[in-house]
């Protein structure tokens, strides 16, 4: 530890850390637009400039290491003036269409202009004529609104190992985009939406499905069905002003009904179903010398990543569809049949913490007879917007119970919302499938938590099953390189595209911080601790669907409706 002086006060700092880190720890507010915790500092936006005695120029605190006895002024008139000028310059060529911008309420540029007290247009720059890229089913890119902070570029490359976008051009023509200014749809973009989550402006937003959903909700002919992912109920309250850490499962069901959804189902139900299928597949592969390690397929960004970057490992992917697609298929087959509804009169909407789910729902393999299994996907943010539009507040909703049987879940299915959850649920049921008994201790601590890489060995009556859990595609890439190079000890790998899993997905509230992700994860564990049905194979609704419709796991009908296969994919990368 060393001593430094900030605003005439003695402050302790860790040796060699960046000044901004010290300031944040001390609760001293210095604005920044380009800083990402845990990633290399870029110093792009210069908003974090401070005055350091002995330095003729202002220094960017995000990329300036502390040294003993330095004297810092964070809010000197000179620093404040510089910050204000930076904002004014950023605004000089900004489209100024805030009233029409999706990020109106969450735009950091707008908030900082307000914070710095920008009240007049001092600089009038030439506007650029960049085109909007609407080619992607998940992400809309509007380079005209970009402030070139580079957060999207860094998260795409350093966290996700995708690097679909980078700075192109120079000077006033500089923008962020894929190679050859092609559309995102032909780039290596995996649609994860982490770029949206970190974007300070409206330059990156989701491809909204709200208009289509509103149309369906207003169509008296249509039975509009909703499914909500495990991460939604532990997050949604945050968008209605609550602090992270409140589960609103029942209120969410009520909210969806009030919005006009005719049936409300739970994707955690099909997560349980996934476990039955995937668990059986794993046991089958282990017993019959199938391709190992088997890898999970719940996360559509990850699937696209394997298709384009590790096509040689496609046989390692489980053939199971994701829970969204399993439930989508069941709604338009099993449920339609059971209720005597024409499947073409069902409009199936899923509420997901994810932008890649929009891409997944549009994959041609997930439709039958010209009908998509899932018709529209709303992100957590879009659902909150829909509710606001109807003046519905989550806090006013009396909790209700979801529809049966596709709305009942075990807590194992619920755990799918966080990294390690699929693994924990799968291990519980695989143990049962192999031994006929349940684990004494259901909690598998080794695969819990927010670490990007977790490994464990589970003793299933002498059969040592080695598993790995990774989240963030860079972590996945490192592991896959090991597998490619011949690592043989692993049986089962869980991969979630976003760091920490779906609770930190690209469809979640903008500027989610690590504390919020921790709180959401804790909620998932609390639910698992407090409820009684904690095993996918003990979910009565799952048993019922097998009895009435599917037969047994890996049956012919299961294969038709719940499984798929993936092919190598050519992209510009």
């Amino acid at each position: 530890m060393i001593n430094i002086e900030v605003n005439n006060r003695q402050v302790q700092a860790k040796e060699n850390e960046m000044l901004l880190v010290t300031l944040r720890r001390e609760g001293i507010h210095v604005p920044t637009m380009c800083h990402l915790e845990d990633l290399s500092p870029s110093g792009a936006c210069r908003l974090c400039v401070v005055e350091v005695a002995g330095h003729p120029n202002l220094v960017p605190s995000c990329s300036f290491p502390v040294y003993p006895d330095m004297k810092v002024q964070t809010h000197s008139p000179r620093a404040l003036k510089a910050r204000k000028t930076i904002i004014e310059l950023l605004l000089s060529n900004h489209p100024d269409d805030c009233l029409y911008c999706e990020r109106n309420n969450t735009c950091q540029l707008r908030l900082m202009a307000e914070e710095m007290g920008v009240r007049a247009r001092r600089f009038r720059g030439e506007k650029n004529n960049f085109h909007k890229d609407i080619s992607s089913p998940s992400i809309v890119r509007d380079p005209a609104k970009c402030v070139l902070c580079g957060k999207c570029v860094r998260i795409c490359e350093e966290v996700q190992a995708v690097a679909a976008i980078d700075f192109t051009g120079r000077g006033s023509q500089a923008q962020v985009g894929p190679a050859f200014n092609e559309g995102l749809n032909v780039s290596s973009c995996v649609n994860c939406g982490q770029c949206i989550r970190v974007c300070p402006t409206g330059a990156l937003v989701e491809h909204s499905h709200l208009a289509e959903v509103e149309m369906a909700l207003n169509d008296p002919e249509m039975i509009v069905v909703a499914q909500h992912a495990p991460a939604i109920s532990v997050t949604l309250a945050e968008l209605f002003g609550d602090k992270p850490g409140r589960d609103v499962n029942g209120a969410l069901v009520t909210l969806l009904r009030k919005l006009g959804f005719d049936r409300v189902f739970d994707t955690s139900f099909s997560a349980d179903l996934t476990i039955m299928e995937e668990g059986s597949e794993l046991v089958h592969r282990i017993k019959n010398g199938g391709v190992l390690p088997m890898m999970t397929t719940c996360s559509p960004g990850w699937i696209k990543y394997v298709e384009q970057t590790f096509p040689d490992l496609l046989p390692n992917l489980s053939t199971c569809r994701s829970p969204q697609q399993m439930l989508g298929a069941l709604i338009k087959s099993f449920y339609a049949e059971r209720e005597g509804i024409d499947p073409s009169k069902i409009y199936s909407v899923s509420i997901m913490p994810c932008t890649a789910k929009k891409f997944e729902a549009e994959r041609p393999e997930f439709s039958r007879d010209g009908l998509a299994d899932v018709d529209a996907v709303l992100t957590t943010r879009e659902l909150a917007q829909l509710a606001r539009r109807r003046g519905l507040n989550l806090a006013d909703m009396e909790p209700e119970v979801a529809d049966n049987p596709l709305g009942s879940r075990s807590t194992a299915g619920k755990l799918f919302g966080g990294s390690g959850g699929v693994m924990e649920a799968a291990l519980r049921s695989a143990f049962f499938l192999l031994t006929g008994r349940n684990l004494d201790e259901l909690k598998v601590q080794a695969v819990r938590g927010l670490d990007g890489v977790k490994e464990a060995t589970i003793d299933i009556d002498g059969l040592m099953v080695n598993v790995a859990v990774v989240s963030g595609l860079e972590n996945a890439r490192v592991l896959l390189e090991e597998v490619r190079a011949g690592r043989k000890d692993l049986h089962f790998i869980e991969v979630m595209t976003c760091p920490g899993g779906c609770i930190n997905g690209g469809g979640q509230p903008i500027e989610t911080d690590i504390e919020a992700v921790k709180a959401r994860m804790k909620l998932l564990y609390q639910i698992d601790r407090d409820e009684s049905v904690r095993l996918s194979h003990e979910n009565k609704a799952v048993q019922q669907v097998y009895q009435e419709f599917l037969g047994e796991p890996l049956s012919e009908l299961s294969h038709k409706l719940l499984h798929t296969h993936y092919d190598p994919r050519e992209v510009l990368k």
């Binding site: 490359e157 690097a163 976008i165």
Partner: protein
């Protein structure tokens, strides 16, 4: 126009076990042989250097020297150096863009003309100056530029009928 591209493998072979610092020399070598940087090139350079295509395109677009379309039959270079600027090259540049219907760094759809901005051609006595396929045309005006382009168009047509 779309002549098959020369194989760039021999060029890549000149940079064994290379990393990202070989990127710019590699791009220069490829452009020297192929006349421009194609998508295929970017992908193969990316594989060779283990770099994403977006990164290579980002670096290449930072520098004026790289082009992403094949050169036209007539490659027009306009000098925007100090002397030419003083003598009114900005207007000449505008005339060229309008006449050819392309921006700097682009090639017209019919493949006849491409346009490039250069900093100085080293013949400031002739300012303002353009250079077509290595031939200098000095002291140009808006009118004379149009005349020069017309002459090349005629030449191209004649060659086409003779072929």
């Amino acid at each position: 126009m779309s002549a098959p591209l020369t194989d760039i493998q021999p060029i890549l072979d000149r940079y064994p076990n290379a990393s990202r610092d070989a990127l710019i020399p590699l791009l220069q070598d490829v452009q020297e042989v192929q006349g421009f940087i194609s998508k295929e090139t970017v992908v193969s350079i990316g594989k060779h250097l283990n770099l994403p295509a977006s990164k290579i395109y980002g670096v290449a677009t930072f520098y004026n020297q790289f082009r992403f379309q094949p050169l036209g039959r007539y490659h027009v270079q306009i000098c925007r150096g100090t002397a030419c600027h003083v003598k009114g090259s900005a207007t000449i540049f505008e005339t060229l863009k309008r006449e050819l219907g392309i921006e700097a760094g682009e090639t017209a759809r019919d493949g006849q003309f491409s346009l490039e901005v250069v900093a100085c051609l080293g013949a400031c006595g002739l300012a303002p100056l353009i250079c077509v396929n290595g031939k200098f045309h000095g002291n140009v005006t808006g009118d004379s530029v149009r005349k020069i382009l017309r002459a090349y168009r005629k030449e191209a047509k004649k060659e086409a009928t003779n072929e």
